[in-house]
């Protein structure tokens, strides 16, 4: 044991570490510093202003609103992308007899939205979610008119609508990761469980889920980061509107940069980083612990 441990050398980490530190960590540290300056396009000199930008952020109702929206959006997408992704992965893995092509067909179709540019998503879903669009048309046709809404206009639901589009786009992507995990589970585990007389739900609970912990971790972390740093769906569907009702942190960052307020923009980015780190790192630690136990 000791013999081999000595064989693993940290030199192997160096290539990755070198480019990562030079091209990511270093700029990030410079960015952290900029977030404490009044750096703005066109001013003559840049001054250190301490925590002024952060004070500004936490006193600005619009920016606070964007933080709130970021949370709502994140919670919804994490829960549903994972539930749906997992369900799809299990479903497209169900033995359909000799009809393997059926499984492959579903796997491909569900993955398709992930490869499509958000520009398309924006223009297409703007029409589908239009008050006279396909979705409301469908709801009215099947007698569910009471569910028909102003999907992207009603400020109470706009964040959920955007989250739903994101779920539409990315569930298949998460399905693919779950699927890779499920297919990595050896068949004999299931056969043993079947001999023990386990029902298919029991097999799911006692074999699939525990052995799938690594995939679950990846998917939860990925969707969490995707939610907190989510940008393109919001940008393409409403760009924060109507008014400021669907602004999230990342769209505010773009807006601040667009106004040439780089100090404030980087400060918002720093807030985002702290927020993401505070949520994700403890979660990751906990999940790693579970993974070992599993």
């Amino acid at each position: 044991m000791k013999e081999t441990t000595r064989l693993y050398s940290y030199y192997w980490v160096l290539p990755a570490l070198a480019i990562y530190v030079l091209l990511f960590i270093l700029p990030m540290v410079i960015g952290l510093y900029s977030s404490m300056t009044d750096w703005t396009m066109g001013i003559d000199s840049i001054h250190f202003v301490g925590l002024d930008n952060f004070r500004f952020i936490f006193n600005d109702a619009e920016l606070l609103g964007s933080i709130g929206n970021t949370f709502i959006y994140t919670i919804v997408v994490v829960v549903f992308k994972n539930l749906i992704g997992f369900f799809l992965a299990v479903a497209v893995n169900v033995d359909m007899g000799k009809r393997v092509r059926v499984n492959n067909f579903f796997r491909t179709v569900f993955y398709l939205p992930a490869v499509v540019s958000t520009i398309v998503i924006g223009i297409v879903f703007t029409r589908i979610l239009h008050p006279d669009g396909l979705l409301n048309g469908f709801l009215n046709a099947v007698g569910l008119s009471f569910l028909a809404k102003d999907w992207l206009i009603d400020t109470k639901i706009v964040m959920f609508t955007i989250a739903a589009v994101s779920i539409w786009q990315w569930s298949g992507y998460h399905m693919a990761i779950y699927l890779a995990g499920i297919q990595g589970i050896p068949k004999d585990y299931y056969e043993a469980a079947m001999i023990d007389g386990a029902s298919s739900f029991q097999r799911l609970r006692n074999v699939t889920v525990p052995l799938l912990m690594p995939s679950i971790n990846i998917n939860v972390i990925l969707s969490l980061i995707g939610g907190l740093k989510g940008f393109s769906e919001v940008y393409a569907l409403t760009n924060g509107g109507p008014g400021h009702s669907s602004q999230v942190l990342t769209t505010e960052v773009l807006a601040k940069f667009g106004e040439g307020r780089w100090g404030l923009g980087t400060a918002l980015n720093t807030v985002l980083l702290i927020l993401v780190a505070v949520i994700c790192i403890p979660l990751l630690r906990e999940m790693r612990r579970q993974e070992v136990e599993a």
Binding site: I43, D150, G243, L254, G258, G260
Partner: protein
């Protein structure tokens, strides 16, 4: 004597180094927003670029079309890092405010083409120098674009006052035609109303108002005319002259909407008339000034700031070649080729050029409004900061969340904040 010799040697050296530079292969980059990638823009026109490359075989022109929404950020980033493209397309006043043109761009006042300009003053920045290059004098403008056939069918005339406007809307509505198409999901569309009208307010009713606002002496919400303007627009919503889904509809849907014949009017500019003429020639559109005032004399066509100028950043790699490009496309024979192309024909701002055959809508605007002085410059041209937030507040007003007064009060706060960030005096 020695000095002169030195200078002569220096000059020869300089000239030969420029010559040497021009002789080596150079890629000249032109960068601009998607917004300017339109058929009528001569700077992106392939025929012009081909002709230039034919004359200067060592120069290759590379056009970078960047997304509207990220244009400011992209250009600012490249300027800040000292890596700008050789030529940048940007609106004149916006370049002064957002790209600090007077600091970052090469002063072009001494270029040969300046002496041929018919109206050099339109290109001058507040410091009296010229930084941006433009071929044309504007023959475009914003107002109410309307379907002539629908108007003819219901025997309507282009309204000249607000009262007449309401009457026209009523007639249309009674005949099951939606009077106005509102593409207000795009925030830049509704603002055509206030920016046009406030331009007239500044020109005719409250001289110097924007100087006072920019100096922090007057608040936006303290100008009664501004509130009235928004209140009148708000009335149009309340009376149901716009389609119900106007906050869900965007400008991309406008061609289909007008093509359907169900909509009669839209607050827009000449570009939509030209665009629809190519997409659906069966629809006849024209334009009239926004009739927001009771006094017909105040209702005029509004023009944007001088748009889409070419700038040469001081830190550009190929300044000499960039100047060559400007010089080249301002030559009479190049302009003549532009004007021969009906999709592009513009009114050149150069002496010794003929007035070309303009597109019908531009011909109309030019003869009926520009020549007779019935035009105004939109208010946006006087504002020193990005107005996107104000535009978002308009959406709140349309959605019934804010009153016209709330909009201006919220904007006062945001405006002060933006001016302060730019270290403007008075804030």
């Amino acid at each position: 004597m020695k000095g002169i010799a030195c200078a002569a040697i220096l000059a020869v050296g300089l000239a030969s180094s420029i010559a040497a530079q021009s002789a080596k292969n150079v890629t000249l980059t032109i960068e601009g927003s998607q917004e300017f990638k339109v058929p009528s823009n001569p700077f992106f026109n392939q025929a012009n670029i081909d002709a230039f490359q034919a004359k200067y075989p060592n120069i290759k022109v590379d056009v970078l079309v960047i997304p509207d929404a990220q244009t400011t950020q992209t250009l600012q980033t490249k300027l800040a890092t000292g890596e700008p493209s050789d030529l940048i397309i940007y609106n004149k006043v916006s370049a002064e405010n957002e790209l600090t043109a007077m600091k970052n761009m090469v002063d072009l006042s001494g270029e040969a083409w300046v002496s041929h300009l018919k109206q050099p003053e339109i290109l001058k920045s507040p410091d009296g120098k010229i930084y941006g290059f433009l071929l044309s004098i504007s023959t475009g403008g914003m107002g109410v674009v309307y379907n002539k056939d629908i108007f003819a069918k219901y025997k309507l005339e282009a309204p000249k006052t607000y009262a007449e406007f309401l009457k026209v809307c009523d007639t249309l509505k009674a005949n099951k035609i939606t009077p106005l198409y509102g593409p207000f999901k795009d925030v830049w569309t509704f603002q055509i109303w206030p920016t046009s009208i406030w331009g007239t307010v500044a020109a005719k009713q409250k001289a110097g108002i924007f100087d006072d606002i920019n100096a922090g002496k007057v608040k936006w919400s303290a100008v009664p005319q501004f509130q009235d303007t928004l209140a009148r627009a708000n009335d149009l919503f309340k009376k149901g002259y716009f389609q119900k889904s106007c906050l869900s509809d965007d400008y991309n849907g406008a061609p289909a909407a007008f093509s359907s014949g169900k909509y009669a009017m839209m607050l827009m500019g000449d570009w939509f008339v030209r665009d629809l003429a190519t997409k659906d020639p069966s629809i006849n559109l024209d334009i009239f000034p926004i009739p927001a005032f009771d006094d017909p004399a105040l209702n005029v066509i509004s023009q944007g700031q001088v748009g889409g100028c070419l700038f040469i950043p001081k830190k550009a790699k190929n300044i000499a070649e960039a100047k060559l490009f400007l010089d080249f496309i301002s030559q009479p024979e190049q302009i003549a080729r532009d004007l021969a192309n009906p999709a592009m024909a513009y009114l050149p701002n150069f002496k010794d050029t003929a007035v070309p055959k303009l597109q019908p809508v531009n011909d109309f605007i030019y003869n009926a409004y520009v020549k007779t002085g019935k035009i105004t410059t939109e208010a946006n041209a006087f504002v020193k900061v990005d107005m996107n937030d104000l535009w978002k507040y308009y959406q709140d007003m349309i959605g019934g969340v804010k009153t016209p007064k709330d909009v201006l009060v919220a904007w006062d706060k945001k405006f002060a904040e933006l001016m302060k960030a730019k270290a403007m005096p008075g804030f």
